[in-house]
Amino acid sequence: MNQFDARLEKTVLDPLRSTGSTYRLVMLALLGIAGWGFYAYTVQLREGLAVTGMRDYIFWGLYISNFVFFIGISHAGTLISAILRVTQAGWRTPVTRMAEFITVVALSVGALFPMIDLGRPDRVVGLVLHGRWQSPIVWDILAISTYLTGSAIYLFLPMIEDLAICRDRLGPTANPLKRNFYRLLSLGWRGTPKQKRYLHIAMGIMAILIIPIAVSVHTVVSFIFAMQMRAGWNSTVYGVFFVAGAIFSGIATIIIIMAVLRRAFHLEEYLTKKHFLYLGYLMGAFVLIIAYFNMLEFLVPGYKMEEGEKFLIHDLLAGSFAPLFWAYIVTGLAIPGLIILLPWTRNITGIVVAAVLVNISMWVERFLIVVPAQRVAQMPHEPGSYMPTWVEASVVLGAMAGFALIIGVFAKIFPVISIWEVKEHQEQQQAPEAPSPQQVDSGHR
């Protein structure tokens, strides 16, 4: 094993060997917030949805906004890992594992929110037993469960070889539970030609399959709005708009997680400025795409000014939601775009700041999609109003803390960088004349 490989293994596996006090403190704090969120949910279970701010006019609020947000950031894994793997972009290798973590965890957390929003969780059984094929909510269930299964498989496949490394390097000194855990999950990986061939085929299938599934998932999520004849939601471009927004917030999430884990686990040698720059460029491209879709969403109905659309556009641009809307435009699009455009801000710190602003603003954007459209009166009555309660805010914060907590736990159990892929990419870079192996998914030699 050469020095690079030895250093790589030591750096990536060290966090799995020991745990510092800072990590414990952070996890404890996250656990506390998640626990408080869980307590708030038990209050809702006990007292009913009356403890939330949702009523008959505004029936979707923070929970559905959060659902859309988390499903959105789950697109991180698919974009970075699958698309860049299929296109054989070598720079992605240190980033793919984190991206795949984010996908699985974000999907798992996000998928809880429709059930939380339902009030009575037992009613989910009714959806399964009596759901209708024509319902976008049934499509949602099918799409999200299919995507979650595919993402879990897609996370596991490239991890097999790294789990074998963990088994061989950590196993002898680890406790029996950990040793057996790695032994079991590594599936007896020895790197035989047959094993490599099977894994290569499996990863190839999943890399290609997961891309259209990911696109369909957020398109279907958009359909729960777009299939309703409600001003603001009744739009033909919602599918593309949501997918673009999902990729946008997904890239921002990867940048943030990358920055945190890079600092926490000393991964500076592997997560370099180049990775932040490339993801920053992608994020910058999506600033323009999202700005374009926002322009469409207001120009087209604004030109016609149907009654309901007129009320909504006024509410967003100059009414009760105007401060939030303009904050989203400025801090979510204009400022991140400028940060990425200007050379003196286009560095790791600047890109991370831009990513944080993007993520906060994209959450606000989801809220602005979900709530204001419900204020448009469907019958002759005053527009409804919505003020989230402490229960909703606590559940949402608890879920976010839960998301970070699970990522933190994953980072302590599984290597956060794909060791074998980075090694392979390094070998390719050092031997450019050598014939490169077939790698739809960076298969082995």
């Binding site: 099918l142 595919g150 007896g188 020895r190 099977y198 894994l199």
Partner: protein, 184 residues
């Protein structure tokens, strides 16, 4: 003069007594409405979602049909614990034979109690009757119709796509198991 005075007095007394007796007669007549008897009839069983013909027959105590009386039909329902009452189904006006008819399509698949009520009026006393109506069958009452029927386009495409995706998942899982088996 004296005779005239006595005659006027007698006349006044006669009118007063007559008024009193007449009023008493009217009062007596109003205080005793005629009793009625209501019966309700329906088919032996109704079909879920299909209209059933409910017939009420209103007769007085002498057996004569009561015409132009409003008969209301109800069914007892209950919702959450403690909340319930008579749900009004419809109402009919009795014809010359004392028959009031409504059509009611049950949307429950259990035995339904039908209560018919005549609330009475100035002439007739109130009465009510009830019966049990068994309901057969169970099917989806509302079926959405496709706005446009496109040949070969339907829910089976969704089933086919999902089957393909999950089939590929199982293929991948099979490959993963082969990785485990190919360790030597």
């Amino acid at each position: 003069m004296e005779i005239l005075k006595r005659s006027s007095l007698a006349l006044a007394i006669f009118i007063a007594v007559g008024t009193l007796l007449g009023g008493a007669a009217v009062a007596l007549a109003e205080g005793d409405p005629i009793g009625t008897q209501l019966s309700v009839d329906a088919p032996a069983a109704a079909t879920f979602g299909e209209p059933a013909r409910l017939v009420a027959l209103l007769r007085d105590e002498a057996g004569k049909p009561v015409e132009k009386a409003t008969v209301r039909f109800y069914s007892p329902v209950s919702f959450l614990a403690g909340a319930g009452g008579l749900m009004r189904l419809d109402e009919g006006i009795t014809d010359a034979d004392g028959v009031a008819t409504i059509h009611y399509a049950p949307t429950q698949t259990t035995e339904i109690r039908i209560v018919a009520k005549f609330d009475g009026d100035t002439r007739y006393a109130a009465s009510q009757a009830d019966m049990l109506l068994p309901v057969n069958g169970n099917h989806q009452l509302y079926e959405a119709e496709a706005g446009i029927r496109v040949p070969f386009v339907g829910k089976w495409w969704l089933v086919a796509v999902l089957s393909l995706i999950w089939g590929l998942y199982f293929l991948v899982v099979n490959l993963v198991l082969r990785v485990a088996l190919a360790r030597d």
